[in-house]
Symmetry: C2
Subunit: 388 residues, 2 copies
């Protein structure tokens, strides 16, 4: 499906896309590990799914069909969309041939592709289980990536033992991954990203040249909390949606403030789906704190904190008009467009309409940088779209 | 003290300033209430102060003098500043005559002035105590406000009983307040701002025409947590500083998503000190959620959520260069400058340098709107600075 196009087709790379793993993904694992891996069971009501993982159960709201019976979860869908839309998209998106047809129809060339079940591995509490699980997820992702040079799949990184994380970064980089997927907050009980514990992981990313891909909405949480539901009551859907952006900003602030980007100037960080206008804002906030609270700052950095964000951090957005101005008016060149295919938050079905709304009348250099250039800078191995 | 000026003196109103109440403020209250009101006791080490309030004790880090012995709290000071700077400023700032001299030296005309001890009243757990305390705080603030037509003091609002809140809004408006001070999160145990419970309070603000002044860093919290310390370890000072901005964004999102600004189009909201570039960003995030999760949105609003933010919400910043572009490039006309006098995060001592860095070369209309116009729109009763 292609929406009405206001002009010539324009193309973009996507800094944020997804593929959904098949249900039998973990069948090859030994029984004692397999039974602890994430699996989704849809409630007969159709209201939510339960993810069983490592002895824990997480509930997540599902897209609703019945009018007047809607939830507040992340899977809420656009008003007027069909009940089956999401399932159809996922099935198409998992078939590489049909996915490429979708991409061509929509005008999307290269894609950073995140796992789906892989998000849940960050809730596993047993190091051996997450290590084996990440390996299986990464075998699937690597196999998918090999279906097209346009696919940049992300490697899941086991985070319960930093040695396992370093080993998987090195292994997956050697196997062909160009990006490693991290949640915006480490697994429950682990220190946040500013802690010394993670230093060997940043070193491994820097050494391999793998981009760090933080995807928003991935914070591990207690099974008693419903995924994505921070607020209830009036305005809950909007409040919960806005809430997802903060995790990416906090992860980036942690990486910069602790000196990781200072120690590894070659390290590149992508924050996917959380918008991009936050970049220049958080850069200014960090600088004000760094300067005005300077007597308490540890460690001191070689440059103002903002400079690391401008040089080494990238972020993808879907519809935000302000994100384009964050490039041309605020000077953050690492604003990157993303489709979020096949999710409801994304542009599937109206990508051309969105791209025209965002970029018609925008300076060619700015438009090209956001649609094409920033992605190519992070992933130079992806071949450019042939001139048609 | 005036820093080197790069050109002609330029003037600005401040959307964010402070006055510190005298220690004997609550002496007029009956003993049983007086002993529950906030009082600050400085630790002999000089490292922190303890705020005693309503049977609770809160610790807050103080500016440090000893090199190598610095904290991570909000009171951390700029590197190279003197131990006594803050105390000297506070003493001057509490003397209306000396304060006006400071303002004239710095090039600041009108000011929104928040209380200091007043922030702590949001931690009181006894309705009668907070009600009587707010009244005393507001008598002091009103007295201070009467010292100059340039002062816009903010009324503290008792929040443990919404009827008390409504009564104090009406009383303080009638007494001469143009702005009511709210914390970015309600007192512990009270529902957040999207809840129906607060509707009479929004109606009272709308009816009286008082501006709602949310000041960042005011979230009530458990006494076991050190004020302003969310993060420890590497980068803690920068992380804690950046963290303070999120509360204002969340409060605004709650007010818009729950429909309060839709129901009261005359209601105006100011978020002080948290920067301003977040405005266009959160506007875009709200719109994406509202549209892409539309089937779950309750209540529906007459306009896209962004429009309420653009029309009814204002925000003050000190040093952020990106905030100026949020006006001219992203179209948010309600960006407002603020000095944060006399706090360390502010511009005292370098106001002219900051204003020149921010506004030299910027279009006159944009510069005037951010420095002067947005403030005058919220507080039209403040007389303009006479042409000199």
């Amino acid at each position: 499906m292609v929406a009405a196009v206001h002009g010539d087709k324009i193309w973009a790379n996507s800094g944020d896309s997804h593929v959904m793993e098949p249900p039998d993904l973990f069948d090859s694992l030994p029984d004692d590990i397999k039974e602890l891996m994430p699996r989704s069971v849809k409630d007969p009501s159709g209201d939510f799914e339960t993810i069983f993982i490592d002895g824990q159960e997480f509930r997540r709201d599902l897209p609703k069909a019945k009018p007047g019976k809607t939830g507040l979860g992340l899977n809420a869908r656009p008003a007027g969309s069909s009940e089956d839309d999401f399932i159809i998209r996922v099935i198409e998106g998992n078939d590489a041939t049909k996915r490429l047809q979708d991409l061509d129809d929509e005008g999307v060339w290269g894609e950073v592709i995140y796992p789906s079940l892989g998000i849940w591995t960050f809730n596993i509490r047993t190091p051996k289980v997450v290590k084996e699980g990440a390996r299986v997820l990464n075998e699937f992702a690597l196999d998918f990536q090999m279906r097209s040079p346009r696919f940049v799949c992300t490697a899941s990184i086991p985070l319960l033992d930093v040695d396992d994380a370093v080993a998987e970064i090195k292994r997956s980089s050697a196997a062909g991954f160009a990006c490693g997927f991290l949640p915006t907050r480490p697994p429950m009980g682990r220190p946040i990203w500013n802690d010394e514990e993670w230093d060997p992981m940043w070193a491994a990313f820097a050494e391999t040249g793998m981009v760090i891909g933080f995807h928003i909405g991935t914070e591990p949480h207690d099974p008693t909390e419903r995924t994505g539901v921070h607020y209830r009551g009036r305005g809950g859907a909007v409040l919960n949606y806005v809430e997802t952006t903060y995790g990416g900003q906090k992860a980036v602030t942690q990486l910069i403030a602790c000196g990781a980007l200072d120690r590894h100037p070659e390290l590149k960080v992508l924050v996917s789906e959380g918008g991009a206008t936050w970049g220049p804002f958080i850069a200014d906030r960090m600088d004000e704190g760094y300067r005005q609270h300077g007597a308490a700052v540890r460690p001191m950095l070689a440059k103002p904190p903002s400079q690391y964000l401008y040089d080494q951090v990238y972020a993808s957005f879907q519809h935000d008009a302000s994100a384009v101005a964050a490039n041309w008016a605020m000077g953050w060149k690492n604003v990157m467009w993303g489709s979020d295919y096949p999710h409801f938050e994304g542009t599937f079905g109206h990508t051309q309409k969105t791209l025209h709304e965002l970029f018609d009348g925008v300076d060619d250099d700015v438009s090209h940088r956001i649609r094409i250039g920033a992605f190519e800078e992070l992933f130079p191995h992806v071949p450019a779209r042939p001139a048609s």
